[in-house]
Each structure stands twice: as C-alpha cells, then as structure tokens.
Symmetry: C2
Subunit: 178 residues, 2 copies
C-alpha cells in the first residue's frame, strides 16, 4: 500500500466493535510514534495505553460527560491512549518563547499521526479526540510537572469497513506555486 492509499484509508472511526486489540498491533503503532521527528529531537510525549478495566471505562466516563458528551462514542472503544505532552528541550522551549508558539503541540500532531497511520495499516480504526475533560484524565493516569493531556486517541476495530470519501478543500485552494 502506497502512502497516499494509507492516507485515504485512515479516517476518524466513531463506531467500534467490542473486540480486543492485539498487543503486537499497539506496539507497532507506538513504534511509529516513537520514531516521529520533533523540534530539537525533544520527543515531548508519553503514550499511556489505557485498556484494562475498570480504568478504561472510568476514564472514558469522566472524559466524555457533560459539555464533552459529543465524543461519548469513544466510550465504546476498547483502547484509549492518553497522549501526554511533556516539557521539551531548553532550545525548543526558548525558540517557542521567541516565536510565540508551542513547538510541542506540532510535535504531538506528528507523533499521534504516526500512531493512527500505523493503526490504519494494521486494520484498526482510530479517532483523534481533542475535546474532553482533561482534569480527571490527568488525575487518573497521574501527571508530572508541566505535563498536559492535549490529545486522546480512541483505538479499536471499526464497524464500518470501507472508508468514506474525504471532504477537503480542492488542491488549488490550499496550495500554490511561486
């Protein structure tokens, strides 16, 4: 499968089967994330794979309630990965202060996308989640100084097998040559 095919195949899965996910598959997703590039090679991430009960259900219940209910579908996923953003290296922190943006957020984007693309290759469904209550999530998994959970990834076997067409801006609207 070429990379563009894999990109086509990856899509947000919002309906999961109860089937458990093989450990070997998760390990390869983690390996893909591990090898991701990051600013100054800071690797400002930690992947906490939550799969055992009752932790998984407790975390899902607290993360996706109230104003975060819109993502309640993720409670069905057999695996939730809490992606912890770590403070990065001094050089990248300084550059970020100077340029006024957070390099680790870009790094988290890269590493998580490696994870979900590998998952797509493994036949797994995933969904990026950025809208959840991060306080109980942090309390349940335990966070260190200046650590945050910006992203959760729902992982499992999807009920729908065929990817839907992607709704995106046309190529010439999002790119140009100079």
């Amino acid at each position: 499968m070429g990379f563009l095919e894999l990109v086509e195949k990856r899509e947000s899965c919002r309906s999961f089967l109860r089937d458990p996910v093989e450990r070997g598959k998760i390990e390869r997703c983690l390996e893909a994330a591990r090898l991701a590039p990051s600013a100054c090679n800071g690797q400002p991430w930690r992947f906490v794979v939550v799969e055992s009960e009752p932790l998984k259900s407790t975390l899902a219940e607290r993360a996706f309630s109230g104003i975060h209910k819109m993502n309640a579908f993720a409670k069905e996923a057999p695996v939730l990965v809490a992606v912890v953003t770590l403070p990065t290296r001094a050089a990248a922190t300084f550059a970020g202060l100077f340029r006024r943006f957070s390099y680790p957020l870009i790094d988290i984007g890269i590493a998580c996308e490696h994870f979900v693309l590998q998952a797509a290759e493994e036949g797994l469904g995933t969904c990026w989640l950025g809208w959840f209550d991060d306080k109980p999530v942090g309390n349940l998994i335990g966070l260190g100084f200046r650590e945050k959970v910006h992203v959760l990834l729902a992982v499992g076997y999807g009920k729908d097998k065929r990817p839907a067409a992607k709704m995106r801006k046309p190529l010439r609207e999002m790119s140009e040559y100079r």
Copy 2:
C-alpha cells in the same frame, strides 16, 4: 514499503543537490497534506511552494540570517514550502480557548508530516524548519488577517542516500500500558 519502513526512511535532510524537483512529486506531497485530518475538519493551512528565482533565494536569505543562521543549509534546497497557518473554524477556535491551547498547531503538525512522508516515498529529502525569521517570509509571500508562518519545509534531492539510525528514547520510556 510498509508505513514503518517509510517512517524509518524519512529523516531531516541538511544537504541538498541542486537538481530541480519534478512538479508531479510536489503535487503528490500536497495531495497527502490536503487529505490530512484536522480539528473539526478546519484544514487551517495553505502551502506556498516557493521554487522560482529570485524569490526562493531572497526568501531563504532573509529567513536564515542573523540569529537564524543555524538553518542556513536550507538555502541550498531547490524548493522551500512556506506553510501558512490559517485561523480555524469557530468550533475549534472556541474549544482551543476553553482548553487553552492552539488546535491549528497540532493540525499543522499532521499536514506537514503527511507532506514529508510522501516526499520520502518519492525519494526526496526534506527538513522541517521552525527556526527562521518569519517576518520577511510573511512579507514576501503575503499573509492575510491572522495568518502566520510557523513552519517552512526544505525540499530537494538529498546528497546522502542512506538513512542514519534514529536517536530516540526507548519504547518503554515513552509508553506504558494501564
């Protein structure tokens, strides 16, 4: 080539040949970026492919001088892609204000990584650049309201053909099961 092989192959290229890059290859890199997921499908990006002279050299000269000289190697690259971060959709902007981080930075991470992974598949070398003078870059390409250039991508054929071993934290240091 499996996805993990592609991830191994992608590396930061800091030494470019002068050979021009075929338009078809750049188009497929843009297509991979176009299909990237983003918060609320906001697609908050615009890819400006700078390849013609004297613009490319002027942009490189101004971006990588003074305190940004450390990335002067990128002046050699035949193509520089200015990745413009756009304001995203209202829902993602609101969620970002609520959660106190910028969703578009994560989105930019994803879309740019799609670009460089497709480039690796095409046999091209790339380098993510987050340290450059963004003011002249913005002036040269022209920015709209609330648009920023957080990332430049250097693209070309690399002088080194074989990927080096990646220096990363071990798998069990960056991940755990619960």
